[in-house]
Subunit: 281 residues, 2 copies
Amino acid sequence: MNLQSYLSEKRRLIDEALEAYLPAEHTFPEIICRAMRYSVLNGGKRVRPILVLAGCEAVGGNSEIALPAACAIEFIHTYSLIHDDLPAMDNDDFRRGKPTSHKVFGEAMAILAGDALLTLAFETLTRDAKGLPADLLLRVVHRIASAAGVGGMIAGQALDLSCEGKEIAPETLEFMHRHKTGALIEASVVAGGTIGRGTDEQIESLSLYGQKIGLAFQITDDILDFDGGEKKATYPGIYGLEKSKALAVQAVDGAVEALRGFDERADPLRAIARFIAEREA
Amino acid sequence: MNLQSYLSEKRRLIDEALEAYLPAEHTFPEIICRAMRYSVLNGGKRVRPILVLAGCEAVGGNSEIALPAACAIEFIHTYSLIHDDLPAMDNDDFRRGKPTSHKVFGEAMAILAGDALLTLAFETLTRDAKGLPADLLLRVVHRIASAAGVGGMIAGQALDLSCEGKEIAPETLEFMHRHKTGALIEASVVAGGTIGRGTDEQIESLSLYGQKIGLAFQITDDILDFDGGEKKATYPGIYGLEKSKALAVQAVDGAVEALRGFDERADPLRAIARFIAEREA
């Protein structure tokens, strides 16, 4: 399979759906709608929503039905970036070469835009079941909310905040990443598999796959950011560069291994796993 | 009926349920769990969750089943207060005589605690259906998300921010309040009525009731805050004190009138409507 054409095809579908679920630009009050659209429609790579669609296809589902969940997860991801960039948090002025939300719309509106996107995720998830049984959809909503909440992503962010500048044990680093980035990535594949009506065993395999690529993703991020400096709370900072690269490869192998029971419909997931550790930005 | 004993009985049930749905105090990472608990467990009046339970009872439902929705709405209300109090927003140091979240836990953790409570609302709603049909529960989740989102509460907050210090037309003031405080109050009664399996006609009446008490609530708030000054974006600022009081009474009468088709099981809702315009704090 050609991963690049798979990714760009899915990205197109997702971008269309995101646009459709966002409030139109001139909806009153305009400024909050513009702020929401600014941060979502920014040419993102759409890793998480693509994982939702690919997870759905891996179990034989029609990924069209998974589009609302895919968009919901991208809204959650985007809100977390807007809030992370705030002056009180990481205080970042740029993201992907563009001024961050609070630089464009002011701090108060950026906080609200994040809140609005988090809420829109749940509006989107529950707006149109697309023929899915309601109990299955409820389970998906619960899974995504848990992954985004204080037992998931927010636990990682809180820990990150409270560890800033401190020496950090390898177990704490792992807990932090497993929650801060891993939980939502894992929930993406699992949500896709659930919507595609995967068996319990398949969902378990997808969950393991998601954990492994989440880890690979984070280690690779740390490696790409590594400047030889002494940043403690990173993989190269704790393990050194060579060992970190080996850990990333090991995580990718684990992800591919988790899919051993799946047929060729899981090829996109396999290719995405390899791609994650090989990417250069 | 004795409204005070009704309110304190419901408040007790709600406080117990809130405590049960919040993460325990020593859950890792502790600081975020403490921040969430600090703002929720603060002796609040629990107006919105009581409206959920009373709305459920008004249509003959067992309000026990509505407790998760009641708590979810209180979590949403609390997150909105935490974020409203932030330095970038209203910059309030105290709420109900206690230091605000960001004064106690710092700004970053207060932002996260708000995010965590908003997410917890949806975790709580979807955790335990308590025997409710899944499609009905999905409708409730959607209704609450819409009321809290950019078509509801957040529209009001965004408008409030962008009108700060400006002269404001009466229609704009009404739009702002109908969204900022009205939407969630209306959704509370409607969610309760839906969970209690009210008919479409009953739900419509509850919706109208909710709109009217939301308005009465806001006008009374403005009257209680009124210091004779020139604050433009308030009812006494636009209409003067006497006319504002008359508008509040008219809204309460409209709320009671909306319930004319209901039997004595709606008495708590009727008493709450009258209480809102008569309260003194």
